[in-house]
C-alpha cells in the first residue's frame, strides 16, 4: 500500500517541495481538518461583491449606451470605431475579477499547508457548480467559492447548502434572481395594470437543488415538488444589477451584489414538498425546505456516493458508500465527521492508482513540487486551464465537472500535459533535480521504471518533464 503517495495525492494536492515526510498518513490528514483556514492569505485583497456587481452593471449599462449611440451614429451616418474598443474596455472590468480570483485560487492551492481541506473546497465548489459561461456569473465565480463554500466545508451540510444557494452567483446562474411568485404582490400589480405579461416562476434552481445538490436524480420527487419548491424560493434576488423587474423594489440602502429577500416578489401561501407542508413565513419557508432536504436519506446516499467516487474511483465500493451514508444520517450531515470516516476507511487506501488527476490537480501538484516559480509572471492562468481542458469555474453545466477517469484521460489531453510539462521543464532547466524530486513527490509509489527513466533523461529539464508525465504523477 503506497500510503504516503495516496495521502499526498489522492487526498491532497501533491507533495510540496518543502513538506516534511508523511510519517502517519491518516493522522496527517485528520490533523488538517482542525488546522483548516477558510481565509488563506493568497485570497486576501480580491474584489468584494459590491465591486463585482458594480463592474458588471457598468459593463451592461455601457454596452446598452454604446448600442444606442451606434444606432444614432448609423442614422447620422458618421460611424465611429470607438464604441467597440470602449465595450471591450468596460468588459475588462469584470473579466479582471475572474482572472484575479482564478490566479488567487491557484496560488492558494499551491501554498496551502492543508491540502486535504483544499481539495474538499474544490470538490464542494464543483458539487455546487456555477459556470462562468454565463456573463453575470463570470465576476462572481471566485467570490462564490471563497465566501459561500470555503467558510462552510467544516460545518453541517445544511449550512453549506444554504450558503451556496443564497450566493448571488448561484441565484444568477440558475435564474432565481428572475423568478417571481405568480401571485406575489408585484406580479399581481403588473397583471392588474394589464399592460404586459406578468413576471412568473422559474424552476431552474429548485430543480437543480433537488437533482444535483441534495436528493439526486430519480429519487422520487415529482414535478409538483419542483414547482412548490420553486414557489417557496421566490423572493430571493440580487441587488444592484440593473433595471430588471424586481430591481425597482430594492430597498434604497441595498448594496450591489447582496442577496435580498423581497417579500413583494414571494409567492404567498403554504407549499407542500415531498409530502410535508411548509407554512409561508417569508424567507424562512425555503430555508426550512433546504434544512429538511439537507438531512434526507436520499441526500445522505447521494453525497456519500459522490465523495466515495472522488476518493476511490469510477466504481466506489458499496461498503464505503453505505458507511459514509450512515455517518451522514447519524450526525445530521456533519462534514468533518464524514471526512474522518472517509480517512479511517480502508477503501480509499487501496493501492491501485485508480484515478487520473484532473488538469487542475495535475498542474497544482507540479507547481507544489517546484521551489522555483514554474510559470512566468505574465502567464494567463485562466487561459492555461482552458487549454488543458478544464476552464476554472466554467464546467458548462450546473452538474459540474464529471468525476471519472475517462473525463480527463484523453489522448489529446495527455499530449497537452506533456507539452506543458515540457514547457515548464524548459523554464526550470537545471534549477530542480528530478532525480531528487521523484522520491519526494512520488514517495512509496515511485517505480524502478520511472526512477530509471528520469535518471536516464538527456538533460535535467527532460528529467523534470519525465517526472511530471510519469504514470504515477498523472494519477492520484
Amino acid at each position: 500500500m503506497a500510503a504516503q503517495y495516496l495521502a499526498a495525492n489522492r487526498f491532497g494536492l501533491g507533495r510540496r517541495f518543502d513538506d516534511p515526510a508523511i510519517d502517519d498518513p491518516k493522522a496527517w490528514l485528520t490533523r488538517q481538518i482542525g488546522d483548516y483556514d477558510p481565509a488563506p492569505a493568497a485570497l486576501a485583497g480580491l474584489a468584494r461583491r459590491d465591486a463585482i456587481a458594480t463592474a458588471y452593471a457598468e459593463y451592461r449599462d455601457e454596452r446598452q449606451a454604446m448600442r444606442r449611440e451606434a444606432k444614432d451614429a448609423t442614422m447620422r451616418d458618421d460611424g465611429d470605431p470607438m464604441p467597440e474598443a470602449m465595450r471591450r474596455m468596460a468588459r475588462a472590468g469584470f473579466r479582471k475579477h475572474y482572472a484575479e480570483a482564478a490566479g488567487a485560487r491557484l496560488a492558494a492551492a499551491v501554498a496551502t499547508p492543508t491540502p486535504f481541506p483544499e481539495r474538499l473546497v474544490h470538490f464542494w465548489a464543483n458539487h455546487f457548480a456555477v459556470s462562468a459561461d454565463k456573463q453575470t456569473v463570470v465576476g462572481f465565480a471566485g467570490n462564490y467559492e471563497n465566501e459561500a463554500i470555503r467558510p462552510h466545508i467544516m460545518g453541517k451540510f445544511a449550512d453549506l447548502l444554504i450558503n451556496a444557494v443564497h450566493h448571488p452567483a448561484m441565484l444568477l446562474y440558475l435564474d432565481q434572481a428572475q423568478s417571481f411568485g405568480p401571485d406575489s404582490a408585484f406580479a399581481t400589480r403588473v397583471r392588474n395594470r394589464g399592460k404586459r405579461k406578468a413576471p412568473g416562476l422559474n424552476e431552474n434552481l429548485a430543480r437543480e437543488i433537488l437533482e444535483l445538490h441534495t436528493l439526486g436524480v430519480r429519487t422520487g420527487y415529482t414535478q409538483s415538488d419542483v414547482t412548490a419548491f420553486a414557489k417557496a424560493l421566490t423572493g430571493l434576488t440580487v441587488a444592484g444589477l440593473g433595471r430588471g423587474a424586481g430591481q425597482r423594489l430594492m430597498p434604497a440602502d441595498a448594496r450591489p451584489g447582496e442577496t435580498l429577500f423581497i417579500d413583494r416578489l414571494h409567492q404567498p401561501g403554504a407549499q407542500t414538498i415531498l409530502g410535508k407542508r411548509y407554512d409561508d413565513n417569508g424567507a424562512r419557508q425555503a430555508e426550512a425546505v433546504l434544512r429538511d432536504l439537507a438531512v434526507h436519506p436520499a441526500t445522505a446516499k447521494h453525497i456519500a456516493a459522490k465523495l466515495a467516487r472522488h476518493f476511490t474511483g469510477d466504481a466506489p465500493p458499496a461498503a464505503l458508500v453505505d458507511r459514509l451514508s450512515a455517518d451522514f444520517l447519524k450526525t445530521g450531515g456533519d462534514l468533518p465527521s464524514l471526512y474522518r470516516t472517509l480517512v479511517a476507511s480502508p477503501e480509499p487506501w487501496a493501492a491501485t492508482p485508480a484515478m487520473f488527476k484532473s488538469p487542475w490537480d495535475w498542474t497544482v501538484s507540479m507547481l507544489r513540487a517546484l521551489k522555483v516559480p514554474a510559470l512566468g509572471e505574465r502567464q494567463n492562468i485562466a487561459a492555461m486551464f482552458t487549454q488543458l481542458g478544464q476552464p476554472v469555474w466554467r464546467p458548462g453545466s450546473p452538474a459540474g465537472y464529471d468525476d471519472k477517469v475517462a473525463t480527463w484521460a484523453g489522448s489529446a489531453a495527455l499530449m497537452q500535459r506533456v507539452e506543458l510539462a515540457s514547457r515548464i521543464a524548459g523554464r526550470i532547466g537545471d534549477r530542480a533535480d528530478a532525480r531528487a524530486l521523484a522520491p519526494l513527490v512520488l514517495a512509496d509509489a515511485l517505480t524502478p521504471d520511472t526512477a530509471q527513466a528520469i535518471a536516464r533523461a538527456d538533460s535535467p529539464g527532460q528529467g523534470i518533464a519525465m517526472l511530471f508525465a510519469s504514470p504515477a504523477f498523472l494519477r492520484r
Partner: protein, 373 residues
C-alpha cells in the same frame, strides 16, 4: 525577419538595454565580434560526427554502423565527416570549420545532468559553479559585444553570471520533442490506460519538433531566428542555442543523421542570415560527453567520455583542420576499456578559441572562464 527588441523577454522583463544605453548601437569601432554557443544536450557521438575511419580498430568496433559516414567528406587521412553535414563540409573546405577531437571536460562519469552542469558551469566538479563560462566571458567583453541572449525559455547555466542576459523562446517551436516522446512511449509501454492514449496522441502529433525534425528545416528555422536576433545594430552579440535529441541509445543511424542534418542547416542558416557579419562570428558546438566506441545491441551507442567539438566561423584562424592527439580505438587505448579516451581538455579548446576570436589574453580568458582549471 527582424525581431523588435521589445519582443525579447528577459526573465519576464522587457530588455531595455538598447534604449537605456545611449549610443550603444553605434559605439563599436569596426564590426563587433559575435559568438554563438550551440549546446548538444544528450551526449552527441563524436565518433560518428567526425568518424576516425582511418583508425584500424574503427570498422570492427562500429560493425554494421561503420559505414554510417559513407559518402561523407574526407577531412584528412584519418577523419571523415558525417554526410549529413554537407554545408559544414563546405565550411571546412573554405577553412571556416575546425574539429577538435578526443576532447572532454574534466567530468569522468556518465550522467547527462552532471556532465551538462560541468560543460556549462565550467567548474571542476558537478554543481561546483552557479555561473557559466559564457556568463563569465561577458565580463571580459566591451559593452558593445556584451549583449547576450539564449534561445530558451530560461537563462541556461552557461549564460548565468553578473551580466544580465535575455532569453527568447518562440512559441512556435514545439516543446515536446521527438526524444521526449520516444522516452514516454517506453515509459508508458506497460500501462494499460496510458499506452493506448499515448499511441494515438503520438500518431496525430506532427513530429515537427527538434532540430532534426521536418527534414532539417527546423534547424534552418532556428538558425534563421538566431541570425535575426544577432544581425541588427542593436542586436545580441553573444548567443546560446539549445539543441536536444543526441542521446542515441538505439536506432542511431537514422536519428543521428536527422540531428546532424538539422545542425548543418542551423549553421548554414546562421551563416546566410549573418551575411558579412559571419566573418566576425565564432560558433562553438559542444556536447557534455561522447558515446561508447562499440555499438550496443540496439543499433545505438551508450554514454561514453571523449567526443568532438566544432569551431565554425568566417574568420577562423585554425580552420580547415581536425586537431587531435589521437589516442586510438583499440581496446587497450580506450578509457576504461570502452570509451574514446580524452587527450585534451574541452575547456582549453573553448578558452583558446574564444581568446583568439576576441584577441584577448589567453591566460586571462582561461582563468576567467575556468577558474578551477
Amino acid at each position: 525577419m527582424i525581431l523588435s527588441r521589445r519582443s525579447i523577454i528577459l526573465s519576464g522583463i522587457t530588455v531595455a538595454a538598447a534604449g537605456a544605453l545611449p549610443g550603444f548601437a553605434y559605439a563599436a569601432a569596426g564590426t563587433p565580434k559575435r559568438l554563438v554557443f550551440v549546446i548538444q544536450r544528450g551526449a552527441a557521438d563524436g565518433l560518428a560526427t567526425v568518424a576516425p575511419t582511418g583508425d584500424p580498430a574503427f570498422a570492427a568496433a562500429r560493425r554494421a554502423m561503420a559505414d554510417e559516414t559513407a559518402g561523407g567528406a574526407k577531412l584528412d587521412d584519418m577523419f571523415t565527416l558525417h554526410p549529413a553535414l554537407a554545408a559544414t563540409a563546405g565550411l571546412y573546405t573554405g577553412k571556416q570549420a575546425h574539429f577538435a577531437h578526443a576532447v572532454a571536460t574534466g567530468y569522468r562519469d556518465r550522467s547527462h545532468f552532471d556532465g551538462q552542469n560541468m560543460l556549462e558551469g565550467g567548474g571542476a566538479r558537478p554543481y561546483g559553479r552557479d555561473t557559466g563560462w559564457v556568463g563569465r566571458l561577458l565580463t571580459l567583453l566591451p559593452a558593445a559585444e556584451r549583449d547576450a541572449i539564449a534561445i530558451a525559455p530560461a537563462v541556461p547555466l552557461a549564460l548565468r553570471g553578473t551580466v544580465q542576459v535575455g532569453t527568447y523562446a518562440p512559441s512556435r517551436l514545439p516543446q515536446a520533442d521527438a526524444d521526449l516522446i520516444a522516452r514516454l512511449t517506453a515509459l508508458y509501454a506497460d500501462d494499460p490506460l496510458l499506452h493506448p492514449l499515448w499511441d494515438s496522441a503520438v500518431k496525430t502529433q506532427e513530429l515537427a519538433s527538434d532540430i532534426g525534425g521536418n527534414n532539417g528545416r527546423n534547424g534552418a528555422d532556428l538558425g534563421k531566428l538566431a541570425a535575426s536576433l544577432m544581425l541588427p545594430a542593436d542586436g545580441a552579440r553573444v548567443m546560446m542555442v539549445e539543441t536536444g535529441g543526441w542521446d542515441t541509445h538505439s536506432g542511431q543511424r537514422g536519428r543521428l543523421a536527422a540531428q546532424l542534418r538539422g545542425l548543418d542547416q542551423l549553421v548554414g542558416a546562421l551563416q546566410t542570415g549573418l551575411g558579412p557579419a559571419w566573418s566576425d562570428t565564432l560558433v562553438i558546438v559542444a556536447t557534455e560527453f561522447g558515446r561508447t566506441v562499440e555499438v550496443n545491441g540496439t543499433g545505438g551507442t551508450d554514454h561514453g567520455t571523449a567526443s568532438t567539438a566544432m569551431l565554425l566561423g568566417g574568420g577562423l584562424s585554425e580552420g580547415g583542420k581536425v586537431s587531435a592527439d589521437w589516442p586510438g580505438l583499440g581496446a587497450a587505448a580506450r578509457y576504461e576499456g570502452r570509451d574514446l579516451k580524452p587527450t585534451r581538455s574541452l575547456e582549453s579548446v573553448i578558452a583558446g578559441a574564444v581568446a583568439r576570436h576576441y584577441a584577448l589574453d589567453a591566460k586571462r580568458v582561461m582563468t576567467t572562464l575556468y577558474p578551477d582549471a
